[in-house]
């Protein structure tokens, strides 16, 4: 099968971070990721991606601004003709760094907040950073670069959605993303503590729908529904090996940012092989590309090219078989394990992420 053209490259520049969000999707064991790619290696990867047809580069982590060479990496992406997007928690976005990033051609910045008020937000982040984030948001808003504010939702802040929207309004934000936690990495470890309740999910949907209506034309609100409460899975990455490439801090190449969890696949590294070959020929990218690998119930399902059988990483995490139907799907034989989580009891404190 002829591989499709990838459109998007996620560069996870480092997994280092000064915060401790319990919902972090970074891997739990970080030792093997400390040997980070150099500036030159990232420049090469970006050019290889552009040659393959990629149009957008996203820089995340960890906290990508902890890389001192971030402006040089952004500049390399711009030179390769790529649209550039920085995904940051904003605690280091001072005037000087921001100006250098914009001079380097940065097109868009996404800054995350944890909650509407400092007390709750700082508790979730594990550090007193809320006010600094708000200052960074205002700095970005007033400059010539696009801005999205993001808030990851879970049981501890789900009831504060309205407050998050109000804060975004006060800050005159035009793009807001409210994204329910995806349970990978640290977040998977904290799944029982973080998963929202059914009542929260229903309430959240009503709040978002009303706010969208009220703010039409002023604020674009995107909402990532918690897939554990859905009937069908998300079309994860728009299909394995179809549009997205993720490169980890140490150069490993993944079809999805959570794919390192799949221990039954062997992944390749940009230090050993070119990105184009990895995209086209590697077993890791080919294995779940398209629909030929599917078994029932996906194989004969009319939705198989809509959701591509859901998320391979989630299938592996929950069933031990990365080729299974995503258990989030109501047609999966393993779906009962998801339904059982929808009425979480008690208030376990989640374990903060460790660096």
């Amino acid at each position: 099968m002829n591989p499709p053209r990838p459109l998007s490259l996620l560069c996870e520049l480092t997994y280092r971070c000064n915060l401790q969000c319990a919902y972090c999707y970074n891997p739990v064991a970080l030792d093997e990721y400390r040997d980070e790619l150099s500036t030159e290696q990232w420049s090469t990867v970006l050019q290889q991606a552009a040659d393959l047809g990629v149009v957008q580069a996203h820089f995340s982590g960890g906290e990508p601004t902890l890389r001192r060479d971030l402006p040089s990496i952004v500049a390399a992406a711009s030179r390769s003709g790529l649209y550039t997007n920085l995904i940051t928690q904003g605690t280091f976005l001072g005037d000087a760094l921001l100006d250098r990033l914009i001079e380097s051609g940065l097109n868009h910045i996404q800054i995350s907040i944890q909650a509407p008020q400092a007390e709750m937000a700082d508790h979730i982040a594990g550090a007193a950073v809320h006010d600094r984030k708000l200052t960074a948001i205002e700095r970005v808003r007033d400059r010539n670069v696009a801005l999205t504010v993001n808030c990851v939702l879970h049981r501890f802040n789900h009831d504060a959605i309205e407050g998050v929207i109000a804060l975004a309004e006060t800050l005159r934000i035009t793009r807001l993303e409210l994204a329910n936690t995806q349970f990978y990495g640290w977040a998977y470890r904290n799944r029982g503590a973080l998963i929202p309740t059914r009542r929260q999910v229903e309430h959240g949907e009503r709040i978002v729908a009303a706010a969208r209506e009220r703010l039409r034309g002023r604020m674009e609100i995107s909402y990532v529904f918690p897939d554990y409460f859905d009937e069908f899975p998300k079309p994860c990455m728009n299909g394995w090996g179809r549009q997205f490439i993720t490169v980890a801090p140490n150069g490993y190449v993944f079809p999805c940012p959570a794919a390192a969890t799949i221990t039954t696949l062997q992944f390749e590294n940009v230090r050993g092989r070119g990105l184009a070959e990895i995209w086209r020929d590697s077993d890791s990218f080919s294995r779940y590309r398209g629909t030929a690998w599917m078994s029932e119930p996906c194989r004969s399902c009319p939705r198989r090219e809509l959701d591509w059988g859901g998320c391979r990483c989630q299938a592996f995490l929950l069933t031990g078989n990365a080729g299974a139907t995503d258990p989030v799907c109501s047609l999966s034989p393993d779906h009962a394990s998801i339904v059982a989580l929808r009425d979480p009891q008690g208030k376990d404190e989640p374990i903060p992420r460790r660096a």
């Binding site: 097109n107 868009h108 034309g217």
Partner: protein, 89 residues
């Protein structure tokens, strides 16, 4: 929106031409595929040309009536405006 409206790109929105004549609109966290006519219209969006100017250029370039072109361009710009990618003023 009327004939004197001068559309312009919102921050972080860029038109990208592909070798094969097609184009994409790059927006924060995504890319929208454009057909040839849409790309031609968006190519002219610069904050100084009016809707009227853009429609006239489309009529001169494609075999299309003025009415049709005006409807299509207006529809395109209004849809992009609703998503915050194009500013109308």
């Amino acid at each position: 929106m009327n004939v004197d409206t001068r559309p312009q790109y919102a921050k972080g929105v860029k038109l990208r031409h592909e070798g094969d004549g097609s184009a994409m609109l790059l927006v924060p966290e995504g890319a929208l595929e454009l057909n040839q006519a849409a790309a031609a219209a968006l190519d002219l969006v610069d904050g100084s040309r009016s809707l009227d100017d853009i429609v006239a250029a489309i009529v001169a370039r494609f075999e299309v009536s003025r009415e049709r072109a005006q409807l299509d361009v207006t529809d395109l710009l209004e849809r992009l405006n609703a998503r915050g990618f194009i500013i109308l003023r």
